[in-house]
Symmetry: C2
Subunit: 336 residues, 2 copies
């Protein structure tokens, strides 16, 4: 405190102070300062106090870049998502980051924007920062991407799905079964004309297959499939393109809510329970919003944050089960 007032170095005086400047000021060797930062128990209390004072005086902030190079540990994890502006993946990022940040790990975030080439570039960019693990939504879209990860020799966690041949670890759920569950439910409800709306990304497609297969197995006609652009809230207009349909599975809640909005405009939305709905709608994701609208949205609930937390755990523990099925839950409300 006193020396803070008498000494330069507190304010913005040129370059950031280094370990050895702190060491000089405290009258110790740099390794001792390093120990104060990383293993304070190994340093005698008086020495430690002197070093800590010097660090405060100089406003020392350890340089983890140098530390990482020297120790071959970056304390960082690379995270690759299709997009972060999608609450469904944002929950996962929040979950894993809540788990990793207290442990001193930083999250390096990258977005593929559902673009295979960009995904490969981002994977390479992430790897060049030498993260200690990579967590990604889905699986690499290309063989190149796969090879990159396989050769990286660090824990890799694929999420939001249960790939047949995972690179390493998996935290997700069975998208095919989710589609099956929805179709089963709609069939049991007596629906006859099913349709699926959503993107054609790998996970959405897997949901579609499950949905279609189950519908066919139940003796229904093959459901219609409407591929919507992402960000396309054109799901509002989807109803017009699905004449005669009496049940819709939307690959995510946003599409489901948009579709319901279209139904409302068309006057085919009731305030009553599912049985009263001319067109049943089931979403996926269980956005909070789904409970707030009317009729409340039936949906496949998936715990995005649990996926994130589980993925984080899988990066930390190398032993044990590497394939965690977090499951899903069909939450029935009023929309279908």
């Amino acid at each position: 405190m006193s020396s803070e007032l008498t000494e330069p170095g507190t304010g913005p005086t040129g370059a950031a102070p280094t370990l050895s400047e702190v060491a000089k000021r405290a009258g110790v060797s740099s390794i001792t300062v390093s120990r104060v930062v990383r293993m304070p128990d190994l340093v005698a209390p008086e020495t430690r106090a002197r070093v800590e004072q010097a660090m405060r005086d100089l406003g020392y902030i350890p340089n983890l870049v140098a530390g990482a190079l020297a120790s071959a540990r970056t304390n960082s994890v690379g995270v690759l998502v299709p997009t972060i502006a999608n609450s469904i993946f944002a929950d996962t990022v929040q979950g894993l980051s809540d788990k990793l940040e207290p442990l001193g790990f930083s999250v390096i975030l990258a977005q593929s924007r559902y673009d295979a080439a960009r995904e490969d570039r981002m994977l390479a960019a992430l790897l060049s920062r030498r993260p200690e693990a990579i967590i990604m939504v889905g699986s690499p879209a290309t063989e190149d991407g796969s090879r990159l990860l396989r050769n990286a020799r660090i824990p890799i966690v694929e999420t939001w799905d249960l790939p047949a041949n995972p690179i390493d670890a998996v935290a997700g759920f069975d998208n095919y079964k989710a589609g099956v569950a929805v179709a089963k439910h709609l069939v049991a409800q007596g629906r006859k004309q099913l349709a699926f709306i959503g993107g054609d990304d790998p996970r959405g497609t897997r949901r579609w297959f499950g949905f279609r297969d189950e519908a066919l197995a139940s003796g229904l006609a093959e459901p219609r499939r409407l591929i919507l652009d992402r960000k396309d809230s054109g799901s509002v207009a989807a109803h017009a393109r699905l004449p005669g349909v009496d049940a819709v599975f939307a690959a995510n809640d946003a599409h489901a809510i948009g579709f319901m909005s279209g139904l409302r405009k068309a006057g085919v939305l009731r305030d009553g329970p599912a049985s009263a709905q001319p067109v049943a709608v089931i979403g996926l994701g269980d956005l909070e919003m789904g409970q707030l609208i009317s009729p409340t949205l039936s949906t496949i609930s998936v715990h995005g944050d649990a996926i994130g937390r589980t993925a984080a755990t899988l990066t930390l523990e190398r032993g044990g089960e590497r394939r965690i099925d977090l499951g899903f839950e069909l939450v029935l409300r009023d929309s279908g």
Copy 2:
């Protein structure tokens, strides 16, 4: 390709290959390999081809940790948000990351969870990775945090607000004026009993002040203020706690929609236009969802992704205007 088959090193053969291993294989010095990676134009085409082949053979991935230490450039930006599982900030992160990733910058993401102590810890953690700039939502909550950033001698961008004494650059809008605009509109609509629901974070509070001051200046009684827990969709129940209120400004769209859901349950929500609503509701954020529900949500529209893009630009260009007001827009729909 051919040598890929004949040589070890392609597969997971021990440690990651280094520059000098590539150099040895290509028969050049390591600096030449480094040049092939960073300034290929300086290298003769034949040499370059040889080096590129060697890199491919070995599966070389540059080590940016070492590169950063040597060059004092990390090509990374630290990003601090209260939470990422909130579409409003997720848009901003997406915007800035879309701008930065193509330029070779990585985003290091940290969450403060609206906790001042955690914010300070995360700021220190970010700075220890020596990012070339920091972008944060809001301003540091503590003097310590401020000092940390001020001493870092890198571009700092505060967003989502227009602080009076910014550390460096700013990309945001005037939260106070947003509150004023909403109050003005409600007053013009003839509303008498105003209320504000939302969190008590700095930006929410600024909105509240603008809202209150304008209401008072218009001769109305002081509006009620209901402070809601974040994640609290208890906004559903808020109506019961606001007897007699005929207009509500919700600090964000999620709260607004939750509140409207409560109104619906209470039977005080009409399908008609704003003038028909017993209780007007105005949100903030302009979530896509707001247009999909019924009645459609009136809101203060803020371009979260533009804030992100602008913030990114401010980290890259050191000259020019450092205080960008992106403004907001009162979007009137049916809810108020």
